[in-house]
Amino acid sequence: MAEFEPVLTARWGNPDAASIDGYLETGGYQGLRKALDMEPDAVIEEVKASGLRGRGGAGFPTGTKWSFIPQNTGKPVYVTVNADESEPGTFNNRELLERDPHQLLEGAIICAYAVRCHTLFVYCRGEFVWPGTVLERAVAEAYDRGYLGEDIQGSGFDLDVMVHRGAGAYICGEETALLESLEGYRGQPRLRPPFPAVEGLYKSPTVINNVETLSCVPHVMDRGASWFASIGTEKSTGPGIFSISGKVERPGNYEAPMGTPARELIEMAGGIRGGKRLKAWTPGGSSTPYLTPEHLDTPMDFDSVQAAGSLLGTKAMIVLDETDCVVDATLRFTQFYAHESCGKCTPCREGTWWMERVLRRMEAGHGRTEDIDLMHDVGQNMLFKSFCALADGAVSPIDSSIKYFRDEYEEHVRLGRCPLKDEGRPRLEAASPRSGGTTGETAQELPEGRELSLGEVLA
């Protein structure tokens, strides 16, 4: 990899960066200044030219999404920031919020300016009590300094921002469920079309973008579309933050150009823990099919990962080593989907429920060989049959584990127990070491959260 200068995480080592002064001192709000000097449509063109694609999972081109917003419909335009991050294994939005909230805000303001929105909502995951508070403080500072409110920096552009807290539901990260939730309903996805760009929040044109996507935007405006497009690959431009967790030496968020090979990323994270052998990994959270050691040279961009039979998703690599049971991990993921299915669509609600039971039976050693094909079959009846992609995500770990680790399922049946556990109990593992340094080549030690010491906790 050529010299890569961290972009999105550049301020992460600086504890002052979360304050507006710290942000301004390090070049903050320069992108916004440039944007406000341009026509809104020109901002959209610039973002289009950068090739930026959504980081929330689907990889939709961001500038194109903004250009779909119809103007002069007589209705207000809304922008909603998706800060509901809950895809298992994904944790870069949280750190972006905690360490550099103004970067997100700046991107969001630029987006609002481009699509002529005057009321912006941040839908913040409920469990993010602290990240949400950091963001709220940033919003208050931005009002105070004239980056929000009326006549932003003398441009005549007005924008109000509100942070709305979720209440614990993975599905509310799905964009239409998010809108339902924000409107005060159960967070259940809507049938599309109409797409949110036409009928979104309160039936008005709405842009929904992920935290990392919007965090890229100030840099696109500040340094230009062609600079942004020169990073990464032709069709997956820019830098990306890869969340790496599970059995690696230094789990953490690592920023690297899009298209960096998986092998390099795992090496950045210190390699497989304890010198063990890699067994399986997800490229983009639990909703993306597992890949195996033979896929390690896959460049982590949207197209290459798809060509390898999976999806880039949220760029969250969950790493399992040779001592981890794939059936067990798949069972736990499936429990997640069964719990998080909103219940609206039958294939998802029933499918995840039954899959969990079959997998539980399998892991407990009561499985039958036919169960393997049964699960594949149920999966086929779940795929692409629901309003949203939750069910498709639920099928990913199951189908891909059957594809690559069929023998492990068969071993469970043959032995009548999990071959990798002692007496059916999960082995005790030590906690992970300090998390990783995050910033690619120039990997630096980041200020960590407080380590709680035993001595300090009252004995």
């Binding site: 991050e85 809950s86 895809e87 298992p88 294994g89 994904t90 944790f91 949280r94 409920g126 469990e127 993010f128 009590v129 602290w130 949400g132 508070t133 919003v139 208050a140 009002y143 409110g149 109000d160 509100m162 942070v163 807290r165 979720g166 614990g168 539901a169 993975y170 939730s181 005060g184 967070g187 309160y202 969340s243 599970g246 789990p251 969950i318 399992l320 991990a329 736990r332 993921f333 429990q335 719990h339 039971r357 039976r361 407990a364 009561h366 999960p426 005790l428 593992e429 030590a430 906690a431 992970s432 990783g436 960590e448 959260g449 407080r450 709680l452 035993l454 906790v457 009252l458 004995a459």
Partner: protein, 234 residues
């Protein structure tokens, strides 16, 4: 339908199954009075459409009562011009709205694979052992509710434990034991980020949007309410 014993108990399912039976418990009203009523109106005014304030108002109820009883749902319904059933439909959807009396401290332990691979499940089992049979509902001393949590988006710090949704990184069994002892004795340790967690009521107030200073309100916030009570500090 009969089924094999090993299928009957959802092994790694959270206490979230319990509330259904418990939802019949209730409290005497009114629960939203005086200040809380005014805060409710102010919250509603922040949104273009009143109904958007539904979840924030339920958090407000939780910040008054410590959980969301039917009486609270009735009052919220009345304020927003909805039926109680409409409010209940929403309240039952979200796991952070507690439909039964909860401990002052909700302890959530992540058992999603990235944490489970590094001891999250064992940590959960240990917590259950320490806190006793009823802990997934409420411990007899009213201090704790234990919940099995899905991925908390902090997998690099596995296994993750949260007290009222402030996170503690890389929690060992020993640390867990000491933490619980400490909290019981009135010493809540400072979280990895965000300071010392307040009680569930305090955190609910922050979640209701009371920690939010935006958009800036011309009328001043009553003393002590600007930063969401005791939580989070830092």
């Amino acid at each position: 339908m009969t089924e094999a014993g090993h299928l009957r108990v959802p092994q790694w399912q959270t206490g979230q199954l319990a509330p259904v039976a418990a939802a019949r418990e209730d409290v005497e009203g009114p629960v939203l009075t005086g200040d809380a009523r005014r805060l409710a109106e102010r919250t509603i005014a922040k949104y273009p459409v009143r109904r958007s304030a539904l979840v924030p108002l339920l958090y407000l109820v939780q910040s008054e009562v410590g959980w969301v009883p039917r009486q609270g749902m009735r009052e919220v319904a009345e304020i927003l011009g909805l039926t109680t059933a409409e409010v209940e439909a929403v309240a039952t959807f979200y796991t952070m709205l507690k439909l039964h009396p909860c401990g002052k401290y909700v302890v959530s332990i992540c058992t999603n694979p990235s944490c489970a691979l590094l001891g999250g499940r064992a940590l959960y089992e240990r917590a259950k052992e320490i806190l006793g049979e009823q802990c997934e509902h409420i411990t007899p001393d009213g201090m704790f509710t234990l919940e099995e949590e899905e991925c908390l988006a902090a997998c690099d710090k596995a296994p993750v434990l949260a007290v009222n949704y402030l996170f503690y990184d890389r929690v060992s069994q020993e640390l867990l034991e000491r933490m619980i002892e400490g909290i019981r004795a009135g010493h809540v340790p400072e979280a990895a980020r965000g300071g010392v967690p307040g009680e569930l009521k305090d955190v609910s107030r922050t979640l209701a949007g009371m920690g939010s200073q935006t958009p800036p309100q011309p009328d001043t916030v009553p003393a002590g309410e600007g930063e969401g009570g005791g939580a989070p500090g830092g």
